[in-house]
């Protein structure tokens, strides 16, 4: 820092010196200039020589000043000095360049000194930092004088150039000066002539300098090889250096550098942040890997699984945080009241693993189930409203699920509507699919696989869109297939209704295979086929369930609880258990009656001798009701467990064991196992998705009675994520026809919504119609479960609020409100329909426009070709007329071409800007002389070289 300040001090001193010097010089120059003018007018040549001498003496003084300047530069930067020194050696080359630049300039702009001054000042302030403001006037002056100084030397160059090109615009005066120039050039010194400059020349000079600067700035974005860049950079830098002095190396540059550094760092940070974000998304890399090998349809299953995991996480947080933890921490401890104690009869086996595994014993009498919760209004020091919380969480999970599913569906629909611009689908795949950042062989392998897969998907799409074979046949086949499927469904319903219940699981296993066979008839696109398949299996399961329910309703009077439990299909949870508890209702009545009579008799005996204290009974001994809610919850938990086990075991046996057998028995088997019958299994997207959906339905149904269900499901999903990822990668083979899943898996969502609706139905039914058990659960003692709300309203809110609420719940208000909602829904739906239509129309329009453009282009290309043809004819005719001239032209052409290549170095392709010249080639053709005899249409390079040739012809 101190060094810096010292430097700046030195420079400022120098500045002052220089300024003084410059002032002197300036005076001298002006005087001599005036003198010169006078003399020129008189035209005395002898005087001139004297003036020369004078000038030389003045130039020696100038040399001294120059030395000082160079010193100062040294102190600021070394490299500048180098340029300065090299200046003299490289000058000639550079002159050639600058002359060409200047020749094109016009002489129209004549600015006076003042404007020039202001401009230099502006430039100055741009380059320098604002901190140097106090010094700026000085520096401006210095700069200006320097500028003048350099301007003059440049002036000299210009004259030399003028000599070469013999421009007619130059006056005689100038040519006279040229002679002097020659004399001076011999000396090759950094001399500056003292005669004044004409303003237009100054202007030209300035323009040239500016142009060079621009070139320097844009150099880095030029598609040139480094060598060429360096050469042109050196040239233009020298040029600028010479005529601008040590311009623009101050602090402004530092600020710029700082800015560039910051933007670069910012970009890097953004990239890193993006990467970081992708690593934060759970299982993203795993799914990507699977997608790269198995295509997007298999990946869509895993994405769906991850989404499900997210939802269950929220549900788990709700139930765990608001129900289970408060009860465990603040509720009455285990053993304090009968509902929290294992009954005496079960105590012996309550800790057995078999019982616990079945969620009986201690597990049954714990926070995991409905029955454990007490009906105390507020618990703990927080006065936590336990029953209210329980109720609201139950409602909240369902409401949240509805919200999320519907919102996701809407978003997916939105996404699929916009942004499927497929106009360059294949081109983009071809040119932009490789990730140039990959530097890891494994990642590269994955990328290769994924690119291949995506190409295959795209090819399949393309083929499907092209395919149009016999429509009538396919239509017939499709109708037939649907008919067959309907027969299957009806048959399975019939079987379930009349024959044994066990049939259901068998049907659930074999019908999907049958559907698969049938769907080959239909010849759908695999994506559509998958949806059909899913829909059919879904219908099968649901239909089976409903027939099952109806059949159960018929048998509802019989107590078949034990047999029912044994036959529970994993896909028929809610309705069975629902019927189970309906059966239990009767039991409960009996038990309740028994208990009351027992209590009455007990109390009766006690009351007879009034002095005796009431006998305290151990809570384990108290007789209790059946508590159907806990029973239902247990059923669901058992179902989930068994379902999970079946999934895992089928995965292990069906996929892993099969793969292992096929792999290792293949060596000693009589046919090729890998290619033949068993082979490796494919990943069954439809089955897995349906399993997931039905599983989620069970969670939604059972979560109210068993708060532990979301936690269990979370665990299950977590494990199956890893297990299935592993199984897919290690023992499945990609499908034969890899197809692209529709970007939004709205179909899955729709099924999920249906299941959600179906599973909330029984839950709502129980809450609304059936009174809760009298001796267990948070709602015991109430007539209905939703009475909690009523109670809270009455006791925890002010009177006016409950009044308002009762008014608001009055049908006179509710009905209009519902009507209003219906109207709003209708309105929104119709507008969305309109928007969709407009969207489709606009898309069509855009497509038409594109096609039209393409056609137009085609026509233009054709026309250009015709023109070329004509021109060629014309040229061949002309060739006959004047073959000699063409030879000339050809020679020139060749030489120009050679020159062009040598100039361009190794890069024969011209920079981007030249392309426009090429394009216009056919048109220019007619104005220009006919081309060389060997000229072919459509070969642009030749036409381009002809463009070069034209000026050369003029010159010669």
């Amino acid at each position: 820092m101190s060094q810096d300040s010292l430097d700046s001090l030195v420079t400022s001193e120098n500045d002052i010196d220089i300024r003084l010097d410059v002032d002197d010089e300036y005076e001298q120059e002006r005087q001599s200039g005036r003198r010169r003018k006078r003399r020129r007018r008189s035209g005395d040549k002898k005087e001139k020589k004297k003036k020369h001498q004078r000038r030389r003496s003045s130039s020696s003084a100038r040399d001294g000043r120059e030395e000082r300047q160079t010193k100062k530069r040294e102190s600021s930067k070394k490299q500048r000095e180098k340029h300065f020194k090299e200046r003299t050696t490289e000058r000639n080359e550079e002159e050639a360049q600058t002359s060409s630049v200047k020749a094109t300039k016009t002489n129209k702009n004549i600015n006076n000194e003042k404007t020039r001054k202001t401009k230099t000042a502006e430039r100055e302030t741009e380059k320098r930092n604002e901190k140097k403001m106090d010094k700026s006037p000085k520096t401006i002056e210095r700069k200006e004088s320097e500028g003048k100084n350099t301007d003059k030397s440049k002036e000299r160059k210009k004259h030399k150039k003028v000599q070469n090109s013999s421009d007619e615009e130059k006056t005689k005066e100038e040519s006279e000066e040229d002679k002097e120039e020659q004399e001076e050039l011999d000396k090759e010194q950094e001399e500056v002539r003292s005669e004044c400059l004409s303003p237009e020349e100054l202007e030209k000079l300035k323009e040239a300098v500016d142009e060079r600067k621009k070139l320097i700035q844009s150099l880095r974005v030029k598609p040139w090889p480094m060598k060429k860049k360096l050469v042109s950079l050196r040239e233009s830098q020298e040029f600028v250096e010479k005529y601008e002095g040590a311009l623009g190396k101050g602090k402004g540059r530092k600020i710029y550098a700082y800015k560039v550094i910051m933007t670069k760092k910012w970009m890097k940070f953004e990239r890193d942040f993006e990467n970081f974000k992708t690593t934060l998304i759970p299982w993203e890399m795993k799914i990507k890997e699977i997608e790269s090998h198995f295509g997007s349809s298999v990946a869509s299953y895993f994405i769906f699984l991850r989404w499900m995991y997210g939802i269950n996480m929220i549900l788990f947080c709700l139930t765990f945080g608001l129900v289970m933890v408060p009860e465990a921490l603040m509720g009455r401890p285990y053993g304090s009241i009968p509902r929290k104690t294992v009954p005496r009869a079960e105590e012996a086996s309550a800790m057995d693993f078999a019982v616990l595994w079945d969620f009986g014993g201690y597990a049954q009498y714990s926070v995991l189930f409905y029955g454990f919760y007490n009906n105390q209004r507020a618990i703990g020091w927080l006065k936590f409203r336990m029953p209210l919380s329980y109720f609201l969480v139950g409602v909240g999970t369902v409401a949240y699920s509805y919200m999320v599913v519907i919102r996701t569906m809407a978003r997916n629909a939105n996404e699929s509507g916009i942004g499927d611009d497929n106009s360059f689908n294949f081109s983009w795949k071809m040119f932009t699919s490789w990730d140039y950042l990959i530097g890891n062989t494994e990642t590269a392998d994955n990328k290769f696989a994924s690119i291949t897969t995506s190409f295959k998907e795209a090819i399949l799409e393309e083929q499907e869109s092209r395919k149009d074979d016999n429509i009538h046949l396919t239509r017939f086949l499709r109708v037939l297939a649907n008919f067959l499927v309907l027969c299957c469904l009806a048959g399975s319903g019939y079987l379930i209704y009349f024959v044994v219940n066990m049939v259901m699981s068998l049907l659930g296993m074999f019908c999907p295979m049958l559907f698969d066979v049938i769907s080959t008839l239909e010849n759908y696109h695999p994506r559509v086929a998958l949806q059909w398949q899913l829909g059919r299996i879904f219908a099968l399961f649901l239909g089976n369930l409903y027939t099952f329910i109806i059949a159960l309703m018929d048998e509802i009077n019989l107590k078949v609880r034990s047999t029912l439990k044994g036959d529970l299909d994993r896909n028929a949870p809610a309705f069975i258990t629902w019927t189970v508890y309906i059966c239990q209702r009767k039991e409960e009545m009996i038990v309740k009656y028994n208990i009351t009579t027992w209590e009455n008799s007990f109390n009766g005996t006690v009351s007879e001798n009034s002095t005796a204290t009431p006998i305290s009974l151990h809570p384990a001994d108290v007789p209790r009701g059946p508590c159907w809610e806990t029973m239902v919850g247990q059923e669901f938990v058992r179902l989930i467990i068994s379902d999970t086990m079946t999934t895992y075991i089928t995965l292990l046996i069906g996929d892993f064991l099969r793969a292992v057998l096929v792999r290792f028995l293949n060596h000693c088997w009589c046919w090729d196992l890998e290619a033949g019958f068993p082979s490796y299994s494919e990943f069954d997207v439809s089955g897995n998705v349906l399993g997931l959906i039905f599983n989620q339905g069970m969670i939604w149904m059972g979560a109210f009675y068993a708060p532990c269900l979301p936690a269990l499901n979370l665990l299950r999903l977590h494990i199956s994520m890893y297990l299935q990822c592993w199984a897919v990668m290690c023992c499945n083979v990609p499908q034969e026809r890899v197809f692209k899943a529709s970007g939004s898996n709205n179909f899955y969502m729709a099924m999920l919504l249906v299941i959600l609706f179906l599973s909330t139905l029984p839950a709502i039914y129980t809450i609304v119609t059936i009174p809760p058990s009298f001796d267990c659960g948070p709602f015991s003692g109430k007539n209905r479960m939703f009475d909690v709300i009523h109670e809270t309203l009455e006791s925890d809110f002010p009177v006016w609020f409950s009044k308002v609420f009762s008014y608001a719940s009055n049908p006179g208000l509710v009905l209009p409100f519902i009507l209003l909602m219906v109207l709003a829904i209708y309105y929104l739906q119709s507008t969305s329909k309109n928007y969709k239509e407009a969207n489709v129309k606009l898309k069509k329009k855009l497509q038409m426009q594109n096609e039209e453009n393409k056609k137009k282009n085609k026509r233009a290309a054709l026309k250009a070709q015709m023109d070329l043809e004509e021109a060629r004819k014309a040229s061949s005719q002309q060739k006959h007329v004047s073959p000699r001239r063409h030879q000339d032209v050809n020679e020139i052409h060749c030489s120009r071409q050679r020159h062009y290549y040598s100039k361009n170095g190794r890069n024969p392709a011209p920079p981007v800007g030249d392309r426009s010249l090429r394009r216009s080639a056919p048109r220019t053709y007619q104005h220009v002389n006919p081309g060389p005899p060997g000229y072919l249409p459509g070969l642009p390079r030749q036409s381009e070289t002809r463009m070069h040739r034209v000026p050369s012809l003029q010159r010669h």
Partner: protein, 202 residues
């Protein structure tokens, strides 16, 4: 401090700084960057590359060495990249070419420049047009020859059909640019790494 004086002259440094994109204008970090890149270059073949570059030694590294760099070794187009940026067109690179390559492939380079070089990279026979044979080569490199001939042919036809605006059966630079600037990767700032971006690894 001694190193930077001996490897390059100050003038060379200044020139590199303005000529290439990946170098920031700040002088101190410039030294570091150029030095680092130089050592990357030199580490490929320490016996070939001298430590003194002040007198412009004529040194070229063969393609085998350039292609084995971790930035390039997994890239299916590494040979093309080396060829495009090398002066002799065969992948043998001087230090200038090397700096040039990293300058263009760095994230500081504007997209137009990248598109131009991407075109050159995909133009295998360097005839200034991407014709069918170029497309086939590109596709085979991208998919490691896992597509059948029919599929390759179909994809190439589709590409030409989509992107060829002037209907001459091949893609000119304009066609290419017209197509590539509409690519979603090109438009979004989120995923820029698909169009010839290579970060310099240090």
């Amino acid at each position: 401090m001694g190193n930077k004086q001996t490897i390059f002259t100050a003038e060379q440094l200044d020139a590199y700084q303005v000529g290439s994109l990946c170098f920031v204008i700040n002088t101190s970090s410039l030294f570091i960057l150029i030095q680092k890149l130089f050592y990357r270059y030199r580490d490929l073949a320490p016996q070939l590359v001298p430590l003194d570059y002040t007198n412009h030694p004529d040194v070229k590294l063969p393609y085998e060495l350039i292609g084995s760099m971790p930035e390039l070794k997994d890239n299916p187009f590494r040979q093309r990249i080396a060829e495009v940026f090398s002066e002799d067109g065969e992948g043998n690179m001087t230090l200038d070419d090397f700096l040039d390559m990293f300058s263009v492939l760095s994230e500081m380079a504007p997209r137009d420049l990248k598109a131009y070089y991407a075109f050159k990279i995909y133009d295998f026979n360097s005839d200034d047009f991407i014709c069918k044979s170029d497309l086939e080569k590109t596709l085979n490199k991208l998919t490691r020859n896992e597509l059948t001939d029919d599929e390759v042919r179909m994809v190439c036809e589709k590409v030409i059909d989509e992107a060829d605006l002037d209907n001459d059966g091949r893609l000119s630079l304009e066609d290419f640019q017209h197509m590539i600037v509409r690519a979603p990767e090109f438009l979004s700032r989120r995923k820029p790494n698909n169009i010839t971006y290579i970060l310099i690894w240090f």
